[in-house]
């Protein structure tokens, strides 16, 4: 029971936040952080099977385009667009995963990195579908009327805020539940020692693909949400740099934690980063990000989550080391 208290408190705080301020700038910061938090949860989930995906932003792009296209061209409501985005991203993850997860290790990392570039190039050149660099302009969800309550997504950012909190919550529950269940144990077995896990009856590919697809699903939804929030979807909305950012957020937050680490990482870097861009010169943001990553890896390899544990004196886990090493080739 004790374990439920911190997350419950966090949730209450998150829900009450708009009562404190409805400053659109701050809300936007948090909303963006929420979007990235979901993507990072997916990245960390994949990482905990020992695989390193450098292409998660590509799934955000796929989700974004899927939802934008379907809401603009077919007039489908936002809510279905969101689900459709998740499904499309999941399908692509399935196709890609089945083909490239068997490669594993550094090959998988490289291919996912390149995949991100490919999505960008396809989006840029398939003018007929995506309008190329001009991009698409999806609209915000239409106003909802429930009795006397009106939820207006255009007038204020608050409805978006609550929606992303809900989405983060759902994603968090799913990823957390997966981690706690036998699936999670199986993933940890694979990450710890693939050969052993295989000899104990675990079908490696099946499980790696499963988590890749689940991650893809939520990441796609996050991307779709984002484009309906910013009202724009273009080839550079989510690119390779973002995929690396997701990784950085994951590492900074701490990969030993399935939910809290990603959320912390996203908050610190996304919200913090947005502040930096507005306050400081161009170029400062990537510089600071780079410094933060290096500092975290060198000094606090378990991420900021470990800092919390240090303060509460819980056992520290340096999960960067627990993750599978580069697969040894040869006999």
């Amino acid at each position: 029971m004790k374990k439920v208290i911190p997350p419950a408190v966090g949730l209450v705080l998150a829900l009450c936040f708009p009562l404190v301020t409805t400053d659109p700038f701050i809300l936007s910061l948090l909303i963006e952080a929420g979007v990235w938090a979901i993507a990072v949860m997916g990245f960390v989930a994949i990482l905990r099977t020992g695989e390193f995906s450098l292409g998660q932003a590509a799934f955000m792009a796929i989700g974004g385009y899927a939802s934008a296209l379907v809401t603009i061209n077919l007039g489908i409501p936002f809510w279905f667009g969101l689900v459709f985005a998740g499904i499309m991203a999941a399908l692509v993850a399935l196709a890609l995963g089945v083909v490239v997860l068997r490669l594993g290790g550094i090959y998988f990392a490289i291919v996912t990195l390149v995949f991100g570039e490919i999505v960008r190039i396809v989006a840029l050149n398939w003018q007929g579908l995506t309008r190329g660099a001009t991009g698409l302009t999806p609209s915000a969800p239409s106003t909802i009327h429930i009795g006397s309550i009106t939820i207006d997504f255009i007038a204020s950012k608050v409805p978006f805020y609550y929606l992303i909190v809900l989405l983060v919550l759902v994603a968090a529950v799913v990823f957390w539940r997966v981690d706690r269940s036998r699936l999670g144990r199986t993933f940890r077995s694979i990450a710890s020692n693939e050969t052993l896990a295989e000899h104990m009856g675990i079908h490696l590919m099946k499980y790696k693909v499963i988590i890749f697809v689940i991650a893809g699903f939520f990441t796609g939804i996050a991307g779709a949400f984002f484009c309906h929030f910013t009202l724009f979807m273009g080839p550079t909305t989510f690119d390779v740099w973002d995929s690396i950012m997701i990784l950085i957020m994951g590492i900074v937050g701490g990969t030993s934690s399935v939910v809290l680490g990603p959320i912390i990482g996203a908050l610190v870097l996304s919200a913090g980063g947005a502040y930096l861009t507005s306050a400081l010169m161009v170029g400062m943001k990537p510089l600071v990000y780079g410094i933060i990553v290096i500092v975290v890896v060198v000094l606090l390899p378990g991420g900021l989550v470990d800092l919390g544990r240090y303060i509460s004196r819980a056992p520290r886990i340096s999960s960067l080391q627990g993750v599978k090493r580069h697969k040894k080739r040869g006999n």
Partner: protein, 254 residues
């Protein structure tokens, strides 16, 4: 019908032929030792049977079913378990968690039930926890259940490996050099363990370098030399076979 049939197994690594047209039939409940000088292909043989190598020539038939080329997890599901020679543990977690993870094949609830934390799943988890603890008893590791597997001394690692293999409810157990690197006292423990396994009806195939120990426990020995089977029979016959002596010691000059 033999439980395991190996037909003309051949494994090449480029120009090196590690295993040459190896034939073997093993019957249910047998305790058979495979010996041979270094590099004779013993571990390669296990790698073929357990599915670690999947490209080779020849056939492997287990309980009448062709298993050549299957993945290790599929082979494990057939009932073949392997205890590795070198460190093959989940080093970053506890001894108990190691055996718990290996109870994977015992699970009857599926992933959905585990995700939704159904009562049947929870009951199974509790049972498995108990089973995992039980598995540590026969190898004497019950007291060390919370120790970090990566920090175990070598002898205990080997014993844990046996417990983990047994977690999969195997009908055929492949023991890779069980006597390697363990002390004299521990050898007795291992020999007893092997005998107990045989008494339980598990077919045991072991690969070993320590010929003396193997001669005492195994009623049947197979000798490999340069990938080829050169003898197959009772220990008394095999150890006095000229070809075998030659393989180990070389031909007498003069």
């Amino acid at each position: 019908m033999p439980i395991l049939e190996l037909r003309k197994l051949t494994k090449r690594f480029g120009n090196l032929i590690a295993l040459r047209e190896f034939d073997l039939d093993i019957n249910q409940g047998e305790l058979i030792g495979v010996i041979g000088p270094n590099g004779s292909g013993k571990t390669t043989l296990f790698n073929l049977i357990s599915g670690y190598y999947r490209r080779f020539e020849g056939e492997i038939v287990y309980k009448g079913k062709r298993i050549s080329g299957l993945r290790p997890d599929q082979i494990a599901r057939q009932g073949i378990a392997r205890v590795f020679q070198s460190y093959m543990l989940y080093e970053d977690t506890s001894v108990l968690e190691n055996t718990t993870r290996c109870c994977y094949l015992r699970c009857e609830t599926n992933s959905w039930q585990s995700f939704f934390n159904t009562s049947r799943y929870r009951k199974e988890e509790v049972n498995q926890r108990a089973e995992a603890e039980e598995l540590l008893q026969p190898v004497g590791l019950a007291e060390l259940r919370d120790s970090l597997a990566g920090k175990l001394p070598y002898g205990y690692c080997r014993l844990l490996g046996v417990a983990m293999a047994l977690a999969t409810n195997p009908t055929l157990l492949l023991l890779d050099e069980p006597m390697a690197g363990i002390s004299h006292d521990e050898k007795g423990l291992v020999i007893n363990l092997i005998k107990k396994l045989r008494d339980q009806g598990i077919t045991v195939m072991l690969v070993e370098h320590d010929v003396k120990a193997v001669v005492d426990i195994c009623p049947r020995l197979v000798v490999l030399d340069f990938g080829r089977k050169i003898a197959d029979g009772r220990p008394e016959e095999v150890t006095t076979d000229g070809k075998v002596i030659e393989a180990y010691l070389g031909v007498e000059q003069g």
